[in-house]
Symmetry: C2
């Protein structure tokens, strides 16, 4: 990786981490146990890929303000999805990012409530970020709408559920792709879209970003499937081999490790090409796309 | 009840019901099972008190547009709270509004996901409503913020959890009041505040509405406690006597039925006085306050 880009990304990650750590300190007081659970969920180890994509897309389209609040909003939605994904009624996972999952640490009721509180906090955070950036009413509305669509109805929670319903039975690749697009792709695509919208990018540029984000999101999920099948629990910071145990249909179970890897690489190449065709030569954004292609955890 | 007011409220209720039935038809497609669960949760029998309060407050402060979308947004948040409140990890209720609870009808995973999707749908609905009403960016932001605060962190979900934590032990009246204010009061206060804000009411008028809403919300919850202890399951459309079974601290367990009733009446009187002092002589709003005082189910 280019050293300057590496430093930029490390600085951005630190600023996102800082914003996430402050979410429970600022604003309206939460009941103590919920606050602790939200704080715990937001401050676990994480790549902050989605937040970094917000900032990289924002910068790529010429944004000059402080968009860290918007990056944090996306990471809050992501963290909520992990908390609910791990619940006993969902995947019933016990380890996440190398620590007990939120419901193991705080109980199922608190984890359920904390997840919903996080969705509300993400909206509040996004609205505040829009205010900080001096964005218009129209853009603010679009930001909230993109964030909620990716997190709510059509996006992540829908994908999560389709995923759950697919357990124990084989499903066709097309349906698998729909699940993965909704489950992971939606928020990753939303991240670059939000950054682009906040920067005031042209419709064409934002569209190119969104399409590249969709390819990246799908590639990211395919890499997830490959890692679940090939990496150790220690390297992942969560239980490896969980998909096979749950008899989930994955890219690996459907097309094998090698073909899944090749499919993922083709998607990243597609994303890169879209970004470059749109004239986006920005370092961090291409670097993050490369990260998705080469991810090891 | 004044006959004209009665007709107005019935018409409003029908329009809110219509909007709720259309939530899952419009906009982004949901996975079928989630859509069915959301539709089921939104179309159960209900008084639509919160939605009516939005419209009554809107009209009371001179609003002339169509605020039904905003009323629906509040009802979606309310419906979400019922779905999650009934979950096995919360109250584990089996009947709600005379039908199986959402998780009994669709499973715990689908009900959990549907609840979160509803929070996202409520935000989207509120933003669309603000657009329909031609509201400014500032007012739109305040609407989203009030809605999320009442539903998320400090509001309902917080109250729900404090409530849960109080099961099996006696708690002081002051703490009980904090729980009830957060659990029911927050969304009822938010309803009138949202209506007032959307109508472009003065800060003083909106503040008077909000304070009256807080008293009404608390009175409503006290009536809930009284009904749980005194009415039949049939009349309530949910399991009566549940509080005693769960050894919950309620106004009835803490101060007895008579004193709880008197406290509720005093709160409604306070709300009425605030509304009248603020020059609000509007029929529907006072009628709804009277309904809270006299509720039988």
């Amino acid at each position: 990786m280019n050293e300057a880009t590496e430093v930029t990304l490390a600085q951005w990650r630190a600023r996102i981490d800082g914003a996430l750590a402050r979410v429970t300190a600022n604003g309206a007081p939460l009941p103590e146990k919920v606050r602790d659970a939200v704080h715990y969920s937001l401050t676990g180890e994480g790549k902050r890929l989605r937040g970094l994509l917000v900032l990289a897309a924002y910068e790529a389209l010429g944004g000059k303000g402080n968009a860290v609040g918007l990056a944090a909003a996306v990471e809050i939605v992501h963290a909520y999805s992990l908390v609910h994904d791990d619940l006993p009624c969902m995947d019933n996972d016990h380890i996440r990012r190398g620590r007990p999952t939120t419901h193991r640490a705080f109980g199922v009721a608190t984890a359920t409530v904390a997840g919903v509180a996080m969705v509300a906090l993400a909206v509040t955070q996004a609205v505040q970020a829009a205010e900080t950036l001096g964005l218009s009413a129209d853009v603010t509305k679009r930001l909230v709408s993109v964030l909620m669509q990716s997190s709510g109805a059509t996006g992540m929670v829908g994908g999560q559920l389709m995923d759950l319903m697919s357990e124990g039975r084989e499903i066709p690749v097309k349906q698998l792709e729909a699940i993965h697009r909704a489950k992971t792709g939606a928020l990753i695509a939303a991240s670059v879209t939000l950054g682009g919208l906040a920067a005031g990018g042209s419709a064409a540029a934002v569209d190119a970003l969104a399409k590249a984000g969709e390819s990246l999101g799908l590639a990211f999920q395919i890499a997830d499937d490959v890692l679940d099948a090939t990496a150790s629990s220690e390297a992942l910071g969560k239980s490896a081999g969980a998909d096979a145990k749950l008899e989930k249909s994955t890219y690996v179970s459907t097309m094998g490790v090698q073909a899944a890897k090749a499919h993922g690489e083709a998607l990243v190449a597609d994303a890169m090409q879209r970004l470059q065709a749109a004239g986006l030569k920005n370092g961090p954004l291409l670097e993050l796309a490369r990260f998705v292609a080469a991810r090891r955890s």
